[in-house]
């Protein structure tokens, strides 16, 4: 049974009615098909309306839905022959960032993503999708491998942020992210990044200095979590819905600010309602982008990547 979000309750109510009618029709032998169809259409229309007008705080709930597909689900559904490559070669294999070689549409790619769990046990293993510096360094090692062997890079991002811990600070969490930002700008191969769920702060950006940055329809991408922002600016974390609104975290907002290049549609109700449809939408977006990018020379790729991020920001010149 899928977890129902509070704003989805009216849909559940209509569904219950439909089920009752169906049962009644069966038991009594009455022909209620036209009523049932009517209700089903109503439910469908209501759903379409609801999901096209979600508030940022409602998108947050979908983006964080425990059953939302995770990185390894996408690897399964999008790629063939995944070979995981482990470790930073300096003493750690951070499980929050997973990467390796795979075939995508028949061609080899380096695919790297931030992995979250679906239950407590998995979440402990993947540290709730909060990478350590060693995770970013493992990713960098894999970026360089891809660069050396001329393979495109795909990154899949879903994180509440880089891990805030003692060891993370002692081993340079900030510096590890910074190094990825810098080194990604120098890579000669095409890079496609997709924010699939939570795209929180530097922890997300650390894998997203890409030629094409895409977002799933209900994912969010922000400088700070709405809760964190609310607790600092409003001095009250419970004002997170206001912060989510103010921070302009949705794919529509970010398209408008030219921060992302493309929005990838989700099935009605969100990615968790249909893994296959979500993955198939994602796959065609990635394949199309790579097709286009692979025609460009390394110099063109690097220059265009630089200029894309160079142009970001809004200011006036006095």
């Amino acid at each position: 049974m899928t977890q129902v979000l509070d704003f989805e309750k009216p849909i559940v109510e209509i569904q219950k009615k439909i089920d009752e009618l169906k049962k009644m029709s069966e038991e009594s032998g009455m022909d209620l098909n036209s009523q049932i169809e009517d209700f089903e259409k109503q439910a469908q229309d209501y759903k379409k309306e609801l999901y096209s007008k979600l508030k940022p705080s409602q998108k947050l709930q979908i983006a964080r839905h425990p059953e939302r597909p995770k990185f390894l689900d996408y690897v399964d559904l999008i790629c063939e022959d995944f070979i995981e490559l482990h470790g930073d070669r300096e003493g750690m294999d951070d499980r929050a960032i997973i990467g390796g070689l795979a075939k995508l549409d028949g061609k080899p790619v380096m695919i790297i993503g931030i992995q979250k769990g679906k239950n407590t046990k998995e979440n402990l293993e993947y540290n709730f999708g909060m990478p350590q510096p060693q995770g970013y360094r493992k990713a960098l090692r894999l970026f360089k491998h891809a660069n050396k062997f001329n393979m495109p890079i795909v990154t899949i991002i879903d994180t509440p942020g880089a891990y805030p811990g003692i060891k993370a600070e002692e081993t340079g969490q900030g510096a590890a992210i910074a190094m990825n930002l810098r080194e990604m700008s120098k890579l000669n191969v095409p890079i496609v990044s997709i924010i699939t769920g939570e795209g929180c702060s530097g922890g997300a950006l650390g894998l997203a200095v890409a030629d094409r940055v895409m977002m799933l329809e209900h994912a969010y991408y922000t400088v700070i979590s709405p809760e964190g922002c609310a607790s600092i600016l409003w001095r009250d974390a419970s004002r997170f819905a206001d912060a989510a609104e103010a921070l302009k975290i949705t794919s529509k907002d970010l398209l408008e600010f030219n921060i992302i290049d493309e929005e990838i549609k989700e099935p009605l109700g969100g990615a968790h309602c249909d893994y296959n449809e979500t993955a198939s939408n994602m796959k065609s977006a990635i394949v199309n982008a790579l097709k286009e990018l692979s025609k460009k020379s390394p110099e063109t790729l690097k220059n265009e990547r630089y200029n894309k991020f160079r142009a970001m920001g809004r200011f006036v010149e006095g």
Binding site: Q173, A178, K248, G313
Partner: protein
């Protein structure tokens, strides 16, 4: 010891003596006096200023603003500001308990600055260098579009003129009021630092109280040499966030310059009075 050094030392001793004598004493002209926030010693404001805003009694380094920092590091009137015309706007129409536009006005009124960084070219003991100097007093030194743009422009200028580059950081991190636009300044400035790196241009970071979040996670730690000022607090996540996450008490000296040195995260921890000389020596040894 040169005569100048002897005079300096004598002056320092004088200031220290005065501070020690005044500890805990009622004073009649309070407007001329200040108190060390660390050890509580009373001292003349002019004495503190003469001592580079370092407590003569306990060596506590007071946080200083960008203008004072430039005065201390660069040869007299050698620093020429650039890109002052890049000004902030309110792209998200952001309102929390106060509109962002109001906060910008207040920050300007408080500091006289147009943004949280001053960029330009100056000389350190004769060595010409491009620099970005951040100011914590302007909205916590936070990086929004303007800080990112000015830092990128001065790096591109360093690349064009083949000058070494210095970034003096003092910032709470990315500016929330510009949200993802602020986040992208991390990418933008890091890409620019990448071009300096590829061109073999010396880039030095000077991390000062405090340097956090989006700054340590971007241009703030990408230098070839990282210097931290004595006592500065430097980190990615804030102390409170870490405490709440791991639910345990942190070491007293956690995230200080000295702590980071111990863990290999910075090259040098320097007292304020030695910074200028250290920078000049480094520039000298790189032949720039």
């Amino acid at each position: 010891m040169t005569i100048q050094e002897w005079f300096d030392k004598r002056k320092e001793a004088q200031i220290e003596r005065r501070a020690r004598d005044m500890k805990g004493i009622e004073i009649e002209t309070p407007e001329l006096w200040t108190k060390c926030v660390h050890c509580g010693a009373q001292m003349l404001k002019t004495d503190l200023e003469e001592n580079m805003f370092v407590c003569p009694h306990c060596d506590y380094h007071f946080r200083i603003n960008a203008t004072e920092r430039i005065k201390q590091l660069f040869d007299e009137s050698s620093f020429e500001e650039m890109f002052k015309n890049v000004l902030p706007t309110d792209p998200l129409n952001f309102v929390d308990t106060e509109p962002y536009a109001e906060r910008l006005k207040k920050a300007h009124a408080k500091t006289g600055l147009d943004e949280a960084v001053i960029t330009g070219i100056g000389k350190i003991e004769g060595h010409k260098i491009a620099a970005a100097v951040m100011d914590f007093d302007y909205m916590g030194g936070s990086m929004g579009s303007v800080v990112g743009e000015k830092v990128t422009r001065i790096m591109e200028e360093a690349l064009k003129q083949k000058l070494p580059m210095l970034a003096v950081t003092s910032s709470g991190g990315a500016r929330m009021q510009e949200s993802a636009l602020s986040l992208m300044q991390m990418a933008k400035t890091s890409c620019a630092a990448g071009r300096l790196d590829e061109a073999g241009i010396l880039y030095i970071n000077l991390l000062t109280e405090p340097t956090f979040g989006g700054i340590t996670a971007s241009f703030g730690t990408l230098g070839d040499i990282i210097i931290a000022e004595q006592g500065a607090r430097i980190g990615f996540a804030g102390r409170r966030v870490i405490e709440q996450t791991i639910r345990q008490k942190l070491p007293e000296d956690f995230q200080t310059a000295e702590y980071l040195l111990k863990f290999g995260q910075v090259d040098i921890v320097s007292k304020r009075k030695n910074l200028r000389k250290t920078l000049a020596n480094i520039l000298d040894m790189h032949g720039v």
